[in-house]
């Protein structure tokens, strides 16, 4: 018996798909069903009511944190990638190139531990500012709250976005950029008006990926800012570990899916558009 190429392909891909189905699709469906089921069975929005009543503040907090982190990550990545591509001082470009990638492969949990000590009231940041005479010792405050989460996310994700952006900028046609410079445009203007519009797709995809990543991280909000308000991942872990309350936890889960859905749709649209171009 000989297999057709199509059947062989399906056979080769089946074990991998089975793992994704068992450990992703099935739990995903389970979380959806559990979120929409009442205590007596049957369709109910009760879990969402409870989730909203207890955690509406955290929903807003999560969205604001993730959007703000994406904004600052994008801004920092544009400055870094722009300097790398258009910078004229070799010393500055060289130093920046050697430095900026360091947090790229550092795990979130290590980043969280770094920031937990760095941003504390008596951490290295405040101590350095006091030593430099920038602030008085009494002015030192702990940044281990929403500011700490944003700082950790931006610190961790900027290299990734900057790397993709710098790659895209480097592959642009240099002649247009040079022409802009020759006509008297500043480097800032060349970056904002000529280069950035051409690499917007890459920037958008990198930011969407970062958005979903930040939405999924549990260690950073737990370790950097343990108190209320906090992010939805921490609330979900708490509902399960403290109460075994799957319905509310899954309702919160569905809310995180919805938050990321907007981002994912943009990502998939880009992917499909790329797939369709010859």
């Amino acid at each position: 018996m000989s297999l057709s190429q199509r059947n062989l392909a399906l056979l080769l891909i089946a074990p991998g798909l089975a793992l994704v189905a068992a450990l992703f699709l099935y739990p995903l469906c389970f979380s959806l069903i559990s979120a929409f089921t009442g205590p007596q069975g049957g369709f109910s929005l009760q879990a969402f009511g409870k989730a909203w009543e207890l955690y509406s503040g955290d929903v807003v907090f999560t969205v604001v944190i993730v959007l703000a982190s994406c904004f600052f990550t994008g801004l920092a990545a544009i400055i870094i990638a722009g300097t790398l591509t258009l910078g004229e001082n070799r010393w500055i470009v060289g130093t920046l190139k050697a430095l900026y990638r360091w947090p790229l492969f550092i795990p979130f949990i290590v980043a969280a531990q770094c920031m937990r000590t760095f941003l504390a009231k008596n951490g290295l940041m405040n101590n350095s500012f006091v030593s430099l005479g920038l602030i008085e010792p009494l002015q030192a405050v702990s940044y281990l709250d929403w500011r700490g989460i944003i700082a950790t996310f931006v610190w961790k994700q900027t290299p990734f976005v900057a790397l993709l952006l710098a790659g895209a900028l480097a592959s642009l046609d240099r002649a247009t950029l040079e022409a802009g410079r020759n006509l008297g445009a500043s480097r800032m203007r060349v970056l904002v008006e000529l280069a950035l519009p051409q690499v917007m797709p890459q920037l958008l995809v990198a930011l969407v990926l970062s958005f979903v990543t930040m939405l999924s991280v549990l260690s950073v909000p737990m370790m950097v800012a343990g108190s209320q308000p906090t992010m939805l991942t921490v609330d979900m872990a708490f509902r399960i570990n403290a109460y075994g309350d799957y319905a509310t936890a899954n309702a919160l889960g569905v809310i995180t899916y919805l938050i990321s859905a907007g981002a994912a749709i943009i990502y998939l649209k880009r992917g499909m558009a790329k797939e369709n171009t010859p």
Binding site: R6, A9, F24, P137, L218, S219, G253, T256
Partner: protein, 271 residues
Amino acid sequence: MIRVASGLRMVLAAFALAAFAFFLIGPLVNLALWSVAERWYTPYKLPVVYGTRYWEQVFRPTGDAMASLATSVWIAVLTVLLALALSIPAGYALARLKLPARAFFMVLFLLPQAFPSVAIYINVARVFYNIGINGTVFAVVLVHAAHGLVYSVWIAAAAFAAVDKDLELAARNIGASPLKTFFSVTLPLAAPGIIASGIFVFLESLDEFTGTFFVGVPQVTTLPLLLYNAAMGGNYQVASITALILLVPSVLFMLFIERFLRADVLAKVGA
């Protein structure tokens, strides 16, 4: 006047670069300081007593850290083996064979990365608990492999796509069977990309916290879980040393990634 302005700009740029370096490197320096601080309390800006007492405590053969490191590495090795066993055939099929709805399958492998994962993990933990495998190395390996599959499948597909088809045809023409062609021509040529994907999956598994937190606790303690427990327990020295151990493979990977992942393979990822 122009010279003054450009000098001023240079000073500003140097200042901005210094501030950037401080915020980038500062957290890592703080981590390193904590790892050698035997005593450090306010109002002192630097450790009061330096020493390696906590390193000895961590690296003691009977210490928690060595046991966690061994568990982490063992889980990561098994995860790589499982992920490659699934992704080499899948990657080959996606790159070389006529597959209906190819884009759909590619997206399917991407989904576990494209969704917020906590809600998935709590339900996986519930299923594992019901079938009695929660808290086992096997359960953690399954979760890590599902998570790493997108890298291994996408990179393996790109690596197979980058192999020159003419070389396979040449092997077939001189009488090699399809299987022989695959093992003596296609697989060796795709190996650098597949090794890179394996390293990626290994690191992802080593660093993974959320899945292990729900599926492995309390029986399976990996390094990230040890780090979390030490940090939340206020033992900053052990947490910092564990974090530094976790940093080593990440930094090595960053330095060597270019050697393994060739540009022509990178260009085909997701294509």
